[in-house]
Subunit: 206 residues, 2 copies
DNA sequence: GTCTATACCGCGATAGAC
DNA sequence: GTCTATCGCGGTATAGAC
């Protein structure tokens, strides 16, 4: 029998902290989360946590950065695909919905940041997403002008879409109560995803 | 000249506290708001504030109760109107959108509570809104069955609508950045309201 | 009804031993 | 890399004077 090397599926302490921080920040928000909560979840003490990250703010920043890079990566693939018309819009919708289904905690943090106006981040969140927003608005407007999509205000349509896509996941504790069922079961997530796709399709495609 | 009675437009200290608390809780959340913040906004000291409300939680509860009663009151009027078909759906949408346009802070608190799952309230928030939700789902399903509305999953449609109606107001700091303009100017609110109405109309009415 | 003073706790952060 | 110990700050809440 060989020497006990760390098993491959054993994550590093730093990654465990990032995972636990994601969970706590998503559930209780920045101010509602203490470093004690996170450290306890990992099984270490608070000073040990601060050995890996210089401050609470820095830890939060790293959590958010991971979120944002995954989101932008998936968005990039969908946006740069060769699909046309509705197919492309559906690809973008699914890219977001699938990511959010995989990691609903991302959505809750994202929503909290939108509510707070990004005060906990050094970066300008809207600024980062603005290029995607403007490009999407241009695309929608183009398809409307060609008569492929029904006519709506492209920018307000995007905001409505943003709200529709995020809400089911971000407000899942509330949705649980409305549905009297767990919102985030695979079946319910699937049902909601297909609903959102069909709904936007029926509003846009003539 | 008569004796200096409190002028009519001078609100009581208690009401001033409720107003300031609404503002703070909406902007910074429950955990992000200190009683010092609220007291300072009113121009009194923290202990004086605790003379009017027994605790932070009780104050928050009163703020939320005021919000909820106004919302339910406006919803009741719309729901019990004699309108039929799309007209009734539009009345309900406008009842919410108009209230939220008047007091966007209500929306931000409501959203924060939905995110947190109602932990700061003694009441069951979803439980209070559930009767409206169920009744609305029945109505939509009935109109779909009659062929007045296009067919969608009624309950998921309501959640999508909830998200679309709240998001523009709740996430206004983020929307500011996307639009590169103040989301909550009267003109922009009006544009968004009309967009949401038209959008849902085009998805539902055949 | 508002004030001062204070008790008590948990927070983020630092220093230094092992 | 993790720990104990400690600091300073700000939080909620209470007691009592005016």
């Amino acid at each position: 029998m060989t020497y006990d090397a760390p098993t491959a599926n054993q994550r590093s302490t730093r990654d465990q902290i990032l995972d636990e921080a994601l969970l706590c920040f998503a559930q209780k928000g920045y101010d509602g989360t203490s470093l004690n909560d996170i450290a306890a979840g990992v099984g270490i003490r608070r000073p040990s946590l601060l050995h890996h990250f210089p401050s609470k703010e820095a830890l939060y920043g790293d959590v958010f950065e991971r979120l944002l890079s995954e989101w932008l990566e998936r968005l990039d693939i969908a946006v740069n695909s060769s699909a046309q018309g509705w197919d492309k819009a559906e690809l973008v919708l699914r890219a977001c919905l699938d990511l959010f289904a995989d990691t609903p905690d991302y959505v809750r943090i994202m929503r909290r940041e939108a509510l707070d106006g990004g005060v906990h981040l050094g970066i300008d969140l809207s600024g980062v997403l603005r290029p995607f927003f403007d490009r999407a608005a241009e695309y929608l407007q183009g398809e409307m002008n060609k008569g492929v999509f029904a006519t709506h205000d492209a920018r307000h349509l995007l905001i409505t879409g943003y709200g529709a896509v995020l809400t089911y996941f971000s407000d899942s504790p509330f949705v649980n109560g409305l549905l009297d069922d767990e919102a985030l079961t695979p079946e319910n997530i699937r049902a909601h995803t297909e609903h959102v796709i069909a709904f936007f399709r029926s509003a846009l495609v003539r």
